[in-house]
Symmetry: C2
């Protein structure tokens, strides 16, 4: 690849294969090679070469995707942005940072905290996922119930287009309406419109004190869902509101022995980082009790709180120990959270499938994880049937197929149900404006 040094291009088949996978069960195709881009110029060179030779390009960050957007396809070049790790600027006065796409999400957050600021979006994978991957999927996370998703923290982008031209979008200011919102268009586009080489992101003031935390155990998942709806309707404004079902708790208990009670069917973990956080959490505690919680504790120490939230972050790893996982990501209007939980339980029972659910419950965003036998290449038919039922019910409830993971390869089969033909035509029209040869991550997202 003309001006790229050899050190940047990998053609060893085993290394290629490792760069062709994400965290799904999907088997990759046979890409031609991997470019380990270290600069914007490397990206430009790669895209110009790809355009000249009509070679598809699969951009990639940390490879922690859960929908297959970064899975390598036959005959493609994988473009890894993981080595572009510079925080080019961090301005405490303007509360912004300018970062390269390979920066690990939690590293940016830590850099911001040194100045009393934080980077709010925190997908569960934030210690291993990159800002570029977060941008590509418009990642959510635990804190987004209060602070919004990745798009809400993105002010501007530098993007290399399919033909190697450089596009600057957005701004450094808090507000701006010059031209169409190209920044928002790239966020969540899963590498199909261009390759992000730099992002100007918004930082926020870090809360002055550690958050106040509660954990509540319920004898029924429905009661826990009802408690969430009541907490949100009461205006408690939690900064975290996570729901774990029995199957998830068992997976964590098997791994770390958390002393799970036999009668506990669900756990709710909530936090408030507001100045009146303690009072707010006590209100949430009372609502949980009213809704039938068998046990509620308000945590007295930051360490205890950290441990509780840490448990939640272990949920996905705990399930992966038990089998191969199809991690789903439906989002419904908050008021129907209990009904959606019931629908997931019904789908599991009807199809004889194991489903363990965690939820960013304050957002109505559920992650039912379909667990099947390790070593199976594809989920068995009953898993797809149960997933199909879950998606159909979510859409019936006014929900969406994906709250934060993206469409990737996994959700394309249901896409038409949600989007309809006019939106689909428009989206393909937009794709053609940016990538007329269809070289950027073909077959993904739309």
């Amino acid at each position: 690849m003309n001006s790229l040094s050899e050190a940047r291009v990998v053609t060893d088949p085993d290394v290629i294969d490792s760069y062709a996978r994400d965290r799904t069960f999907l088997e990759p195709g046979k890409p031609l090679g991997v470019v380990l881009a270290a600069s914007r110029d490397d990206v430009v060179t790669t895209m110009k070469w790809a355009t000249e030779h009509r070679v598809p390009v699969v951009p990639r960050g940390g490879g922690t995707g859960l929908a297959g957007a970064s899975v390598g396809t036959d005959g493609s070049v994988i473009l890894s942005l993981a080595r572009m790790t510079a925080i080019r600027e961090l301005s405490p006065a303007d509360e912004i940072a300018v970062v390269e796409p390979g920066v690990i999400t939690a590293d940016l957050d830590r850099a911001a905290r040194e100045h009393g600021l934080m980077y709010a979006p925190d997908p569960s994978s934030y210690e291993i996922s990159t800002i570029g991957g977060n941008l590509a999927t418009n990642a959510g996370g635990l804190r987004c119930v209060k602070y919004g998703v990745t798009r809400d923290s993105t002010l501007g982008l530098e993007v290399v287009l399919a033909d190697g031209r450089i596009l600057n979008t957005g701004r450094r200011t808090m507000k701006g309406v010059t031209g169409y919102d190209l920044t928002g268009l790239f966020v969540g586009s899963e590498g199909t419109l261009g390759v992000i080489t730099s992002a100007t992101v918004r930082l926020r003031r870090a809360p002055a004190a550690p958050p106040a935390t509660f954990a509540a155990e319920f004898g029924s998942l429905r009661d826990a869902g009802a408690a969430v709806s009541a907490i949100m309707a009461a205006g408690c404004q939690p900064s975290l509101m996570e729901l774990l079902d029995r199957a998830t708790l068992e997976a964590i208990d098997d791994w770390r022995n958390i002393g799970l009670e036999a009668t506990t069917q669900a756990m709710l973990i909530g936090q408030s980082d507001a100045p009146d956080g303690q009072a707010s959490v006590e209100r949430m505690e009372r609502i949980c009790t009213d809704k039938g919680a068998s046990f509620v504790a308000v945590s007295s120490s930051p360490e205890e709180a950290e441990e509780l939230v840490g448990l939640r972050r272990l949920a996905y790893g705990a399930k992966e120990r038990q089998g191969a996982c199809l991690v789903e990501d439906v989002c419904v209007p908050r008021s129907v959270l209990p009904e959606m939980i019931t629908a997931i339980e019904a789908a599991a029972a009807r199809h004889g499938v194991r489903i363990a659910t965690v939820a960013h419950a304050g957002d109505g965003n559920l992650h039912p994880v379909f667990i099947f036998e390790h070593g199976t290449l594809e989920p068995p038919a009953e898993v797809w049937a149960a997933a199909d039922e879950v998606f159909t019910r979510a859409l019936e409830f006014g929900g969406t197929l994906t709250g934060e993971h993206g469409v990737g390869l996994l959700k394309r089969r249901w896409l038409a149900l949600e989007s309809g033909p006019v939106a689909s035509e428009v989206q393909h029209g937009i794709k053609a404006v940016f990538d007329p040869l269809g070289l950027l991550n073909p077959g993904k997202a739309i």
Copy 2:
């Protein structure tokens, strides 16, 4: 126009002229007529007719625009959405509303308050502007320093495309990443991509108590700017932070006699609606004193607070009494607010032009209002020269031409300075996807 009843179509030239103007000084062209749409079907009929006959369409809400986006052009049909005023749904449980574009912004806010909720975006015109117009310009407002702009409160849209097809974008849920962000693309597109006939907007919990308020007077505008930067950097999180310069205060004083002191060069009005609002406002008060405020008062009554904020809302009307106004809208990174204020004063002095500035200061969003003689059709050359200097400096400071008013007709002459050729080409490409015949609001925005 085939199936539209005659009552919906206006061809009286005087009435057409009144529908062809906005709040700028711009003289409209000669439109063919006005359609007073009362339903989505009326909009579909209009767009199909316009496509068949190749007639340009200028969509319009309350006509309160400040950049000329809804000014009627020669040979066009004006499509008024002002009669589509239904709040189709308001769900307290899901904290959303589904509204037609003609709903007055403040009416939606009032409807939400009946359920303990609020609609956050509040442009100064919110008693006379419509949700549709707010969406078209991605309107900001006084509260957006805390709650974000119109785009941040928009979840989904129903849009009639140029050819009359109906496109549904977005969702009813708090999160969702299915497909490209078409919702964000339409918000701020100034009627050039489609006609919004319904919007699903996010409501928020209204604060439990009235906000705490302070007002501070400064002997220099620069000191006031420095106080704003210090307040934001200290993490006070105001829900309103408005700056008024001497010329603005004089205009208000002339109208309403507010007892303006001879030495006051600037006033800062700030609020906090947080649970610890009183403490937060007292911190802001101390910072103002540190930065040299000549007088600071923390308001003791909601009525007094309402009056202070009411003063700010009068600023534009007060200036209109003094002359014709070119209302500008630059936004800069917060840290350079004092420098930008100085640059505006320098431009006024250099070109001998009267500029009165108010600012959503917490966002770095300044509205320098260039006042010139009533009855002048176009601003005189020195006004354009001063405006040119203000825009150039704002861009040099890393700012943008327009924080919340949009580009319309007025800012097109500076657009290339900010956007550059690649962004411009991409934006015209997107326009062609939605409106291949170029019928929707041609010559505006991009």
